[in-house]
Each structure stands twice: as C-alpha cells, then as structure tokens.
Point group: C2
Chain length 249, copies 2
Amino acid sequence: MNSMGGANGRIPRYQGIAEALRTRIREGALRPGARLDNQRRLATSFGVTLMTLRQALELLEREHLISRRHGLGTFVAAPSIDYDILQLRRFAGDLSAKGERVATRLLGARFASPDRRVADALGLGLGARVLVVERLRSVDGHPMSLQRSFLPGRIGDDVVRADLALTPLHLVLEHELGVVIARARETVSAVRLGRREARELGCPAGAPAFESERVSYDAAGAPVVFDHVFIPGDRFRITRELHYEGATS
Amino acid sequence: MNSMGGANGRIPRYQGIAEALRTRIREGALRPGARLDNQRRLATSFGVTLMTLRQALELLEREHLISRRHGLGTFVAAPSIDYDILQLRRFAGDLSAKGERVATRLLGARFASPDRRVADALGLGLGARVLVVERLRSVDGHPMSLQRSFLPGRIGDDVVRADLALTPLHLVLEHELGVVIARARETVSAVRLGRREARELGCPAGAPAFESERVSYDAAGAPVVFDHVFIPGDRFRITRELHYEGATS
DNA sequence: GTCCCCCGGTGTTCTAGAACACCAGGGGAA
DNA sequence: TTCCCCTGGTGTTCTAGAACACCGGGGGAC
C-alpha cells in the first residue's frame, strides 16, 4: 500500500487520473465553468496524495481543460474556437528560403490505415489504404520540423517507386505523376508535442509547438496530400515584413 | 529547517533555483548541449529536496532552456532560431473579418518606461517615456487576444487625448494625427502565457499561446507602434485557403 | 451606513524518503 | 565473434504530512 502506485499497470497513476477527469469533462459530467472538487477531496477520492493529484491537474491545465485559481478553486475551462484570419502560405515544409543549411531526412514511408482526421481530409473511408511519408527537416543540424504526409493509396503506389530520400515529394508528384497542387487549406495551432514527436525532434515531450495541418488539392479539386507538421515553438519563429495600403491595428 | 522553504523571501524557492540556472545558461557557464549535474546532486547543492528541484527544472523545460531525458540526463537546449517564411498579415488585432461579435475592451492606457525589447523596437532609450495601451478583444464573449500597444511619448501625448475606449487605435493615428502605417515587421511564436496575461485572458497560467510582436513604421520609416499580442492556443486556430501557381512541398 | 479585519476554504510550496523505469555500455555465454 | 543480460547511473512517480499564500465574504468597529 506504500510507494509507487504505478505498479498496477504501466502508465503513471497521475496520467490515469487525468484521463478520468478528461472523460468527465468530455462527457459533460463537468460543464465549462463548473468548479471541481477541491484538490484534497479529489486526491482522497482517487486514493492518491495531494502531490500526485496535482500532477494530474497540471496535465489538464496544459491542455486547457481546466483552470486553477489560487484561493478560488479549479474550474473547467471554456471550449475552443476556430478562426480564419490569416494569409498563411507555405508554412508546412519548404524552409529553404534563407540560405541556411537545410537537410531533409526520410524517416520512413509505409502504407497504413488512416485515422479519422486523415480519412476525412482525404475523403476516404477508415478502411482505406494511405501512404505515410515521414520526414524530418533540419536546419544547421538542428531538427526543425517533423512532417508526416498522407497520400491516398492510388497516388501512394506511384510515389513509393520514386526515391523519396533524394527527390522532394512535390517534385515527385509534379514530374512523375503530373499532379499539380492548385489549392490547399491549412490550419495552424499552438499545441504541445507528444512523446513520439518530441523524441524525433529532440526536444522534451510536452513542449509547445506550431502544428500545421494542410490538405492540398489538385486542379480538379481532388485531395492529394494531407500534411501534418510539427515545429517546436522554441526554435522557430515566424517573422514577416508587411506592406500596407490600408489600416492597421 | 523543515517545511516551507519559501519563508526567506517572497518568491518560491524553486523559482529562485530556476533563475539561478537560467543565469548560468545565459552567462555561458553552461553551454548548449552540456549535461547538468544529476538531479539529486543539484538538489543537494541548492539545499532542497529532489521534488523541489524538479519543479525548477520543469520551469526551465517549459522555457526550452533545458531538455530532460529519462535515463540519460538533463541537458542545456540548443538556442532558438528565427525564420522568415510566411506571408503573415494583420495577425495582431483585427479579428473582425468574420462577422462574429467582436468586442474590444480598453484595460488601460498609461505612460511608463519601456523595457529593453520595446525600447529597441521603437528606437528609444531605456529612460524614455512610452504610452502603453492595453486592450482585450473578445469574440462571442470569450476573451480572445490581449494586446499591448506601445507608442513613443511624442505620439502618445496626442493619442491619450482621444477616446480610446471608443475609437480604434489605428483610426486615432490616422485621423487625429495623420500617421499612416506603411510598413510593419511581425514576429509570431508559440509560447506559454505568463500569470498576468493568463489572468486577463481567463485561462490558466502557463497555457500555450501565439505571441505576436509587431513594429509598425510610418511612411518616413519611423517606428510608430510596437504591438505585443497574446492569443491562447486552445481557443484559436489559424486556418486559411491557399492558392498556388508554383510548387508545394 | 461604511470600512476594515479576520476567518474558513482553496490552491501552492516544500520535506524526506522509497521504489520504479529507462538507457548505455561492459562482461559473460553461446 | 556475436548476442544477451545485467549493472550502474539518471530521470520519474509516489507517499504522508506540514506550513504558507491567496481570495471572498461576514462580522465587528467606527
């Protein structure tokens, strides 16, 4: 009954508690703005120490699911909202504009079943087959972005025959397949890196990062590629010179 | 000698330790890639418990100053790199493009001395006087962005005479002062929110967010405004439709 | 009536110690 | 020689308890 609660399973106790609370919030048992039980009571009800419970809350706070206020309590946070404001262009990939030493390493290319998000983006079923190309871009030797590209099976079959380690993906599409990207929709958010992404990028798990999700379409309007890119926030900034004719602020 | 080490001053012990380590890294005593002493040794040398030391490391990790690797050690992280890739336009402010109910609340306008970053951006000395205008933008009642605008004293004197609660800052500049923004330089990064920013935005401290820093110049090339904007990453996403003529990725 | 202080409740910081979990490399077995 | 295990070093998770620190509101002082 002492020490090391993680003994039962494999995942740490505090992560399990976080997951339990996450579910309560997602399922609606805890509505936005509602106040949670106080930490000591929660700790007791989960059968852990205050310190352990706080680690769970820490996780949830980083995910913006809760908000802790000293002297007041712990509250369920408000839900997220999307916006559509920026002119964003070529965020994913293509870091080479500045004459830095950019290297692209092919981590792998394999076929797999798409998860829900990828399937939706490419207009496929969950049982479909997609080619997953994973690349790591480094600048001056520092890992800079982790890019996973998903291509529908029909296109993937042709793509894998090319030497992806040497030829950029967009050139393979253009020269080998005659596919030209005409339109794309990109979503950029600020997130935390997962374990795997963090490992590949050589930075700690949970680090804040830009996450870009982009669907590219050919001239006929058919989805060609779904790109999913992570760029650690500490080693990356977007800077841009702007020229106006109109207003500002 | 027991409990509550924070008794000495006012700031928590672990924050002091973090600051000490931060200095060692900044001053170069610890070079990028170097491995720190192991946690137990560090704890002893700072005269605190392992748990307390770990809290300090947690802070540094969030700032990307160090990187912890299970089984290996704690390392000084690589320095950050800037890039210049995006076409970013009107990130700061101006959330109104979508017909949502946007409200701007004036939190305050006061004169103060600029910190180093603001002074540099506006080409002023640290002893100069700047007008700080703080505004909170909400969409559908949800706080969306916290914007601090810094204006050089000479401009600020005229600006404060206008009713900033009613008139957008850029209109004050344009109509009242005849100042038109011709050019700007913007930097967007993914960061964690500080206590104050988090409080204003109604989200937990440490939350990941977009941070935009923008310097705007008039036609003569003189800096007019330095805008500093925070937008929580959980309730905000950048989505954009793109149209290409050239290549992709 | 108005102001201030104090109090209960809640989150925060810290201790001292124990038991894992993960990784690299060396030494022994095959 | 090659492979595997095992060991030492390092970060991680957890306990049980104690003392702050912060906030809002109620009650007393004026």
